[in-house]
Symmetry: C2
Subunit: 500 residues, 2 copies
């Protein structure tokens, strides 16, 4: 019989406090629905006292979410708790999450109260919260820097006052796993019946390790965020802790969560799409390269047996096609897989030759894009989609207008369009020339070199008749790079439709 660990998602609250991650009520509702589908047990929707917009957001999430619990944050103050209770009025399963700092440094410098006053404030807060909601969680802010005797006294008192979940945040991200686990083990022993919850920050890169050590020590709830967003270095990443609990379940004490792993990558992408902040390529589980093997040795091992290097499959966490840019470490397999995606099936002897050319080109110019790859291959113009030329007139006092000429299956077609900016007009013109209705899902740009005339690399992901595909290109002209990447993605989608 497995022990169920509660996943408390605070992407919409602690995550949203991350600079650049603000969300409006509609965005919070969209993401909350996805987090509920993902299988989180509790969704913390916001901090109602903060602003009128926060109240609206929490209300909207509370009304929408029916199976997961919806939590709202409140300091242990009457106004905060009443605002939280009010915002949660429409929730099917409301939970008020109230907190107060307990460490000596916070009591002295931030709250300017005595330990006795703080204890009373915490208990009064929990009692008020319990009168407004069936379930209350109390967080002892900066718990990991709090004297244990005092921490126990406060948590014991709020537990008796009606808080069923006792959360002990590592607020400054300062704990080591064994230190944090020791505190949790003592609380589990000293307050039987309470659910001990953990909330870690990643300032030293230890948030996941601290959460896992706490679960082994008896914690039964983990607070976390999608992509690990949150103030400073962020919170425990939901996708990492959920997969670690799954993959290492036996060692961690036969634990399980309700997370549907195959929804991790889509949920990560939805958050990134809303905030515009994408996880770095090597972010565990959800980064673009999390399952990418460029080195020849590893590719060979993977082909021999995926277990040589992969502890979980990309599909198990919902990762679909990844658009690997080819480089000097790329082997035959990587070259073949990109050619197949582009709708070309090279023969074995051709492949050797193309791979050698790719490596030589990569030594010269670092990366080999779809465009370069197609130039290395003898291929028929069928199913080919490429940019011939483009021109653009833009400015903040003219109507941005672009003309694009493309070649599709051997035919040249031209179209012009007006847009909101130079890029928008160029992509609209490309759509018109192609005669297709394409949805742009994602676009990422990076500078490959320094300075104002840097070479831009653009990766785009599009949806065409239900097929998602990606393409990449590079140019000192960002608009040209974007158009080429866009047309590559279209070529891949069309090849997939022909194959299907």
């Amino acid at each position: 019989m497995s022990t169920r660990i509660t996943i408390f998602d605070t992407t919409l609250r602690d995550g949203e406090q991350s600079p650049g991650c603000s969300m409006n009520p509609a965005e919070k509702v969209k993401l909350a629905r996805q987090i509920e589908r993902l299988g989180a047990d509790v969704i913390e929707a916001g901090f109602p006292i903060a602003s009128a917009g926060e109240v609206d957001a929490v209300k909207a999430v509370a009304q929408e979410i029916r199976s997961a619990k919806v939590a709202a944050l409140a300091r242990a103050k009457e106004a905060d708790i009443k605002a939280a209770g009010k915002a949660l009025a429409g929730a099917a399963r409301p939970l008020i999450h109230t907190f107060l700092a307990t460490s000596a440094i916070h009591l002295k410098y931030k709250l300017k109260v005595t330990a006795e006053e703080a204890l009373k404030q915490a208990v009064d807060g929990v009692k008020l919260a319990r009168s407004l909601a069936p379930e209350v969680e109390f967080s002892a802010e900066d718990a990991s820097r709090t004297d244990y005797a005092y921490l126990l006294e406060v948590l014991q008192a709020v537990y008796e006052a009606g808080a069923s979940v006792l959360n002990v945040p590592d607020t400054v991200g300062y704990s080591l796993p064994q230190e944090y686990a020791e505190m949790v083990a003592k609380l589990v022993r000293d307050i039987p019946g309470a659910i001990i919850s953990v909330h870690c920050h990643n300032d030293l890169g230890l948030a996941v390790a601290n959460s896992l050590a706490a679960v082994q020590a008896g914690a039964r709830q983990v607070e976390c965020t999608i992509n690990g967003i949150g103030e400073r270095a962020g919170n425990t990443a939901l996708e990492e802790v959920a997969m670690a609990l799954k993959v290492k379940s036996a060692t961690l004490g036969a634990v399980e969560t309700g997370i549907k792993a195959e929804l991790l990558a889509p949920t990560s992408a939805m958050l990134a799409g809303i905030t515009g902040i994408w996880p770095q390529p090597n972010k565990a589980i959800v980064g673009r390269n999390a399952f990418a093997h460029e080195a020849g040795i590893h590719q060979h091992g993977i082909l021999a047996n995926p277990l040589c290097y992969e502890i979980m499959t990309p599909a198990s966490v919902g990762v679909r096609e990844t658009s690997l840019v080819l480089g000097k470490h790329s082997g035959k397999h990587a070259v073949e897989s990109r050619l197949l995606a582009l709708g070309l099936a090279p023969k074995a002897e051709e492949l050797e030759d193309i791979t050698a050319k790719v490596k030589a080109l990569a030594d010269q110019k670092k990366f080999v894009y779809d465009d370069d790859l197609l130039n290395l291959v003898q291929h028929t113009p069928e199913h080919r989609t490429r940019l011939i030329r483009y021109q653009i007139l833009a400015g903040n006092q003219v109507l941005p207008t672009a003309t694009v000429e493309v070649e599709v299956d051997g035919q040249r077609r031209t179209a012009s369009a007006v847009g909101n900016g130079p890029l928008d007009s160029a992509l609209e013109a490309a759509d018109k020339a192609l005669g297709l209705d394409l949805e742009l899902l994602e676009m990422q740009t990076r500078a490959l070199t320094g300075g104002k005339d840097a070479i831009a690399e653009v990766i785009v992901r599009v949806r065409h008749e239900g097929v998602e595909s990606s393409g990449q290109a590079a140019s000192p002209d960002t608009i040209e790079a974007t158009l080429k990447a866009y047309l590559s993605a279209v070529a891949v989608a069309r090849a997939a439709l022909v194959a299907a």
Copy 2:
């Protein structure tokens, strides 16, 4: 008396195997110099057998680096080891790093050899390496999934054959800290005299935790990379493990490293500049937000006493001015600090009013940029630098040409320029109109909304007369956003020069 932990940096080898992170010899030398200044003890420069370019890179690094050791990787094969020895010929302190997988799954599926054959191959490899270099490290690839008795047998044998450093990689990133530490503790006990080294991957977000647990168990060398780059989810991040070892030195057994913490952020930025891959904003230690506090509560705590929320200061890891975009969580302090940077010193009563306006605007449009902020403030046109209008003609068969009109200190100036692409021509025209010679250090773009007509947010960092500054702006027109961000950065630099 502290125990010195050796930092083995493999940014140029394992890090470089990360898709998109390839470096040419000149880039490797530039970064190696910086990593030596940073205080790494060993710099792994590459894998000479991989390609002619790799040989050149390792040779160039070996000739340049005088105080740190320079390592080259080689499978336990004659050709590999000879290539490594040759590439290291010019090194002051060469080290050959040879490896062979030891786990049953790798022996069976990848190497297709028996345990006895692998043992012999490892010993022969180390002997050959020892004949070519004064110091040899042996790595048992996939050590954490290797049967302990066999692992010990191999490591004991290669130690006796002359490998002084025995590295036990968690190749698939599958270990939990306690499991990994247990293996390390047994090896420390069973092979007295050897230096046990650890090399972790971050597939479950545990690379730093595993490395620290291993150090507590007696490991004396940690292998890591700047920004944690590396295949899949990457390697142990140097900056995280170095700061954890420093901040938690006492708990971890009075350990120390030679890392100069104040060079961590500049080294991270140099790598990002070379590869074009920037750490995500909430990356621990070196992310743009690692020290950013947006929520009002935290800002209040920080002002009361930085120890409330910060376990290390931004300056201690070399972080300079950060350009925080203002949002609904931003308080008075954040608004004031950006206004001061822009050269405006608001009075206390004005500040209250401006902050309220910022919050109201942020509820409407999420983010408040320099441009918006200046519009909220009554300010004299002195020291003001802003975009009036611009127009551009570009395409891949025309000469990209831009005309820009700016207002500088109340005067309007216009200039035109030709560039490599629309963006380059726009920035060149802005420089001409300003009459300044500016260096563009960094430019990051993200889409704030979805679709082809997404609003682009641009953050740029420039250097002007030795002063580095940053600016930000947003627009559906990427070129307009870039010009506005660029001019904001210029305004900040000019304000700093006036103040100095």
